[in-house]
C-alpha cells in the first residue's frame, strides 16, 4: 500500500464549496417554493438563493479552468470498460465481499459508474439548473421583449424544481455510495484530506 494525494487542494476546495453552495440553495429554494421550511424567511431566502447562484457560477468557471489546464477533465470521459462489472459489483458482489472490480489510480480515480454519474451531473443537471434559473430570474425582463406566453414561467419553474428534486436524489445516492469504501468513512476522509491509500500494484492503462 502507498499513500498518494488523490484530490488536490483546489479540487477539494471546489468540491466542498460546491457542496455547501448547493445544499444552501436546496434549503433556500425549497423554502421559497413553500414546502414548509422556515429557515431564513422568504425575502432573505430569495436574496441568498440568487447570491449563491452567482457564487456557484463563479466557482464553476474556476473549476472548468482548472479541469482544462490540468487535463483532469479526462477523468470524466465516460467509458464502457468495466461498466458491467461495476453494476454487477453493486447489485450482488458487494454483499458477498467480492473485490472492487476497478482499482483507483492517480490518473483514473473514478470508476465507470462515477464517470457516468458525474459526467451527467456536469453536462445535464448543472446546465439545466443554471439555464432555467437564469431564465427564471430574468423572466420579467424577457417576457414582454420576447413575447412569451404567460405559461412559459410555469414551464421554467417546473423544470427548475424538477432539477432541484433530481439534485436531492443525486445527493442521497452520492453520500450513500461514499460509504462503500474500505471503511464507511474512507472515501469522505480522502475527499477531506486529499490522501488515499492505493494498492501498490495498482496499474491502469491510460488510453
Amino acid at each position: 500500500m502507498r499513500r498518494v494525494v488523490l484530490y488536490e487542494g483546489f479540487e477539494r476546495f471546489w468540491h466542498w464549496a460546491q457542496a455547501l453552495l448547493i445544499l444552501t440553495m436546496m434549503l433556500t429554494g425549497f423554502e421559497v417554493r413553500g414546502l414548509g421550511l422556515h429557515l431564513f424567511g422568504f425575502q432573505r431566502a430569495v436574496a441568498l438563493h440568487n447570491i449563491l447562484a452567482v457564487t456557484l457560477l463563479v466557482l464553476i468557471v474556476f473549476a472548468i479552468f482548472w479541469h482544462i489546464t490540468t487535463g483532469e477533465w479526462r477523468q470524466y470521459i465516460p467509458t464502457r470498460k468495466f461498466l458491467r462489472e461495476m453494476i454487477a459489483f453493486y447489485v450482488t458482489g458487494i454483499f458477498k465481499g467480492a473485490p472492487h472490480p476497478v482499482r483507483k489510480h492517480r490518473m483514473a480515480k473514478l470508476n465507470p459508474l462515477q464517470r457516468l454519474a458525474y459526467f451527467g451531473f456536469k453536462v445535464l443537471i448543472i446546465p439545466v439548473q443554471v439555464t432555467s434559473g437564469a431564465l427564471y430570474y430574468y423572466y420579467p425582463n424577457l417576457q414582454h421583449a420576447l413575447g412569451w406566453p404567460p405559461a412559459s414561467l410555469w414551464v421554467i419553474a417546473v423544470v427548475h424544481v424538477l432539477g432541484a428534486f433530481g439534485l436531492v436524489a443525486f445527493l442521497i445516492g452520492h453520500v450513500y455510495l461514499t460509504t462503500t469504501g474500505h471503511t464507511p468513512l474512507t472515501n469522505i476522509k480522502a475527499m477531506l484530506t486529499g490522501w488515499e491509500e492505493l494498492e501498490d500494484d495498482a496499474y491502469f492503462d491510460e488510453t
Binding site: 422568504f42 458487494i94 419553474a157 417546473v158 433530481g166 464507511p184
Partner: protein, 538 residues
C-alpha cells in the same frame, strides 16, 4: 415645548437657571405663530411645506375692497361676481371641468357622470329627483334639477374650494349656509387644502368614510400610520400636491380616463397630475432589484396599503336596498350593531360597515367600465352584476394587480327593460319619494319620469358590486405587505388569475413526482445499505 429628557438630568442649579430662562423666553414664544410649532413626530416636512405655500401667495385678499361686501346671506353669486372682477377667466375654466358639469363625455362615450346616466350602488343616481340634496357637493349655486343653467358664470362656487377658514358650508342645491359670513370667507381665500376637497370627497355615498374607504375625515388629524402623505406627522401634503390642476382642471381619474396613466411630464413645464407614485418616487424606489421589478405587474398600492379604512371610521361594504322600508308603527327606524355602526335603517336597508379592511386584488390597467341607466344588462347566472368591472389581465402590459374596495349591494332593477332604475328617494311624505311614502313602484316611476327614461312598471332587486380603487391611506413602509402574504398557498393573491406565482402555484403533481423520486432513492439506498451491513460486509 421642553426637550424630551433623553440626557441624564442636570444638576439642580442648572435646571433652575434653565427654568428661569424659559420663563423669560415665554412671551417671545407666545408671540410666534402657533403653526410654527414643529410636528411631534415623523418626517416633519408639513411645517416647511406650508410655510413655503403661504410664502408663494402674491396678494392679500383681505385688502381687496370688492371682497368686503357686504354680501347678503347665501348670496354666493355676488361673491363670485366679485372674484371674477380680477380672476375674469376663472369661472370659464371651472365650467369646462367635471367638478362643474358632473358629466363626462369623451371619445364618443357619453352619460358618464353624476348629473347624467351613471349608476352606482350607494345612493344609485341623482337624476331621479334627488339632485337638490346631492348638489350640496356641486361646485355651483342653485343646481336643483334639470333646469339649472350650466352657462352662467356667477353660479360657479369659488369658495367651496378656496375657503381657508373652514367656516364655509353648503346647503341644498349648493347654496351657502345662511349662517356663513361670506365676506369673511371671501377675504381669506387661498389654495385648496385637504379640507376643501374633503368636504365632498370624504363624504361620498352620503356620509363620512361611506364610499371610498381610503378617504375620510380622519385624514385631517391622522397619525402618520394612517396616511404617510397627508398626515401632518408625515409629509403633510395636500390633495392638490398630487392632483395638480391645469386651468382649474384638477388632475384625477374620471369615469372614462384611465387612473394610472401618466408618470412624467412629456416636456418641461407641462402641468401633469402626479397621480402615479412613480412621478415622485421613481419606478425603482427599493434597494432590492427584485422588489423594484414588482413594479411591472404590481401596483405600489397593493403592498403599501395593506388595509383601508385605517382611521377610526368604518366604511360601508354592503348596502341592501332590497330590505329597506321596514317600518315600526308606520315610521322608519334605525338599528345599530355591537360596534355602534348602523346595521339597519328603513331608508337604506341593511348595511355592513368595517374598519381596517383587506382590499380585494384585481388586474387593472387604469380603466373601469361603468354602467349607465340606459345600458341593457344581462344578469349573470350568479345573479351578481359588476357595475364597473376593471379592465386588464396578466398579458396586458399596462395592467397591474391593484387593491380595490369591493362594495356589495342590492338595488332596484327593471327586469322587463333590463336596465337599472333611478328611484326618487329624498323627499317628504306625499311627494312620492321613497323616504316619504315607502313605495318603490311610485318612487321608481317618479324617478324615471323626472329623469326622462322609460320604465316598464315592474321592478326587482339585483345584486351588484362596485370596484373602488384603493390608493390613499398609504401606510409607513414597515407596514407594507410581507412577501409571504402573496407568495404562499392561499395567500392574498390566491384568486388573481393568469400567471404563475412563486410560492402560490406548485403545478399539479410536480412536488409529488419530486418527492416520489427522493423517496425511491432513499428506499433503494436503505435496502442496499441494509443488506450490505446485515451481511457484515461493506
Amino acid at each position: 415645548m421642553p426637550h424630551p429628557p433623553r440626557r441624564p438630568s442636570p444638576p439642580l442649579l442648572r435646571r433652575a437657571l434653565q427654568a428661569l430662562l424659559g420663563l423669560l423666553a415665554l412671551p417671545f414664544a407666545l408671540a410666534q405663530e402657533p403653526a410654527a410649532a414643529p410636528p411631534t413626530a415623523g418626517h416633519g416636512s408639513y411645517t416647511i411645506l406650508h410655510v413655503a405655500k403661504s410664502r408663494r401667495q402674491t396678494s392679500d385678499h383681505s385688502k381687496f375692497q370688492v371682497l368686503k361686501g357686504p354680501f347678503k346671506d347665501s348670496d354666493g353669486p355676488a361673491v363670485t361676481r366679485a372674484c371674477l372682477t380680477c380672476h375674469m377667466k376663472a369661472a370659464e375654466q371651472v365650467m369646462a371641468t367635471s367638478h362643474w358639469t358632473w358629466n363626462i363625455a369623451k371619445d364618443g362615450k357619453d352619460g358618464f357622470g353624476k348629473s347624467t346616466l351613471l349608476v352606482n350602488n350607494y345612493c344609485i343616481s341623482i337624476i331621479g329627483g334627488n339632485t337638490e340634496s346631492c348638489a350640496r357637493c356641486h361646485a355651483g349655486y342653485g343646481f336643483k334639477d334639470k333646469s339649472f343653467d350650466f352657462t352662467k358664470p356667477e353660479n360657479v362656487d369659488c369658495l367651496v374650494c378656496h375657503d381657508t377658514t373652514g367656516d364655509y358650508e353648503k346647503e341644498k342645491a349648493g347654496w351657502p349656509n345662511p349662517g356663513v359670513s361670506l365676506a369673511e370667507v371671501a377675504q381669506k381665500v387661498g389654495a385648496p387644502t385637504l379640507k376643501n376637497c374633503g368636504v365632498c370627497h370624504f363624504f361620498g355615498g352620503g356620509g363620512d368614510a361611506t364610499k371610498h374607504g381610503d378617504l375620510d375625515d380622519t385624514i385631517l388629524k391622522a397619525p402618520r400610520a394612517e396616511d404617510v402623505h397627508m398626515s401632518r406627522q408625515g409629509a403633510g401634503m395636500d390633495c392638490i400636491d398630487c392632483h395638480a390642476s391645469d386651468a382649474h382642471k384638477v388632475g384625477g381619474p374620471n369615469y372614462v380616463v384611465p387612473a394610472d396613466r401618466r408618470e412624467q411630464a412629456k416636456f418641461a413645464g407641462e402641468s401633469v397630475s402626479r397621480m402615479s407614485c412613480a412621478a415622485c418616487h421613481s419606478d425603482s424606489p427599493h434597494k432590492s432589484y427584485i422588489l423594484n421589478r414588482h413594479y411591472q405587474k404590481v401596483a405600489c398600492q397593493t403592498c403599501h396599503i395593506p388595509t383601508y379604512a385605517r382611521g377610526t371610521l368604518p366604511t360601508n361594504t354592503f348596502w341592501d336596498w332590497a330590505s329597506a322600508g321596514r317600518l315600526k308603527n308606520g315610521r322608519g327606524y334605525k338599528e345599530e350593531d355591537a360596534n355602534g355602526y348602523e346595521k339597519y335603517n328603513s331608508i337604506h336597508g341593511e348595511m355592513i360597515w368595517a374598519r381596517n379592511v383587506r382590499p380585494s386584488y384585481v388586474w387593472y390597467n387604469g380603466t373601469l367600465k361603468f354602467t349607465r341607466l340606459t345600458d341593457r344588462i344581462t344578469v349573470p347566472t350568479d345573479g351578481r352584476v359588476i357595475l364597473n368591472p376593471a379592465e386588464g389581465s396578466y398579458t396586458d402590459p399596462n395592467a397591474k394587480i391593484w387593491p380595490f374596495k369591493f362594495h356589495e349591494a342590492t338595488q332596484p332593477f327593471d327586469p322587463i327593460l333590463q336596465r337599472f332604475v333611478a328611484p326618487y328617494t329624498a323627499g317628504p311624505k306625499g311627494s312620492g319619494a321613497y323616504w316619504g311614502d315607502w313605495d318603490w313602484d311610485i318612487a321608481i316611476q317618479k324617478g324615471m319620469a323626472t329623469a326622462g327614461l322609460p320604465y316598464s312598471g315592474q321592478h326587482s332587486f339585483v345584486k351588484t358590486t362596485m370596484l373602488w380603487p384603493v390608493t390613499h391611506m398609504v401606510a409607513p413602509k414597515e407596514q407594507a405587505l410581507a412577501c409571504t402574504e402573496c407568495h404562499k398557498r392561499n395567500g392574498l393573491l390566491a384568486q388573481v388569475p393568469g400567471f404563475y406565482l412563486l410560492g402560490r402555484d406548485h403545478g399539479t403533481g410536480v412536488d409529488l413526482l419530486g418527492f416520489g423520486v427522493i423517496l425511491l432513492t432513499i428506499l433503494g439506498v436503505g435496502i442496499h445499505g441494509f443488506i450490505r451491513f446485515s451481511h457484515g460486509r461493506h
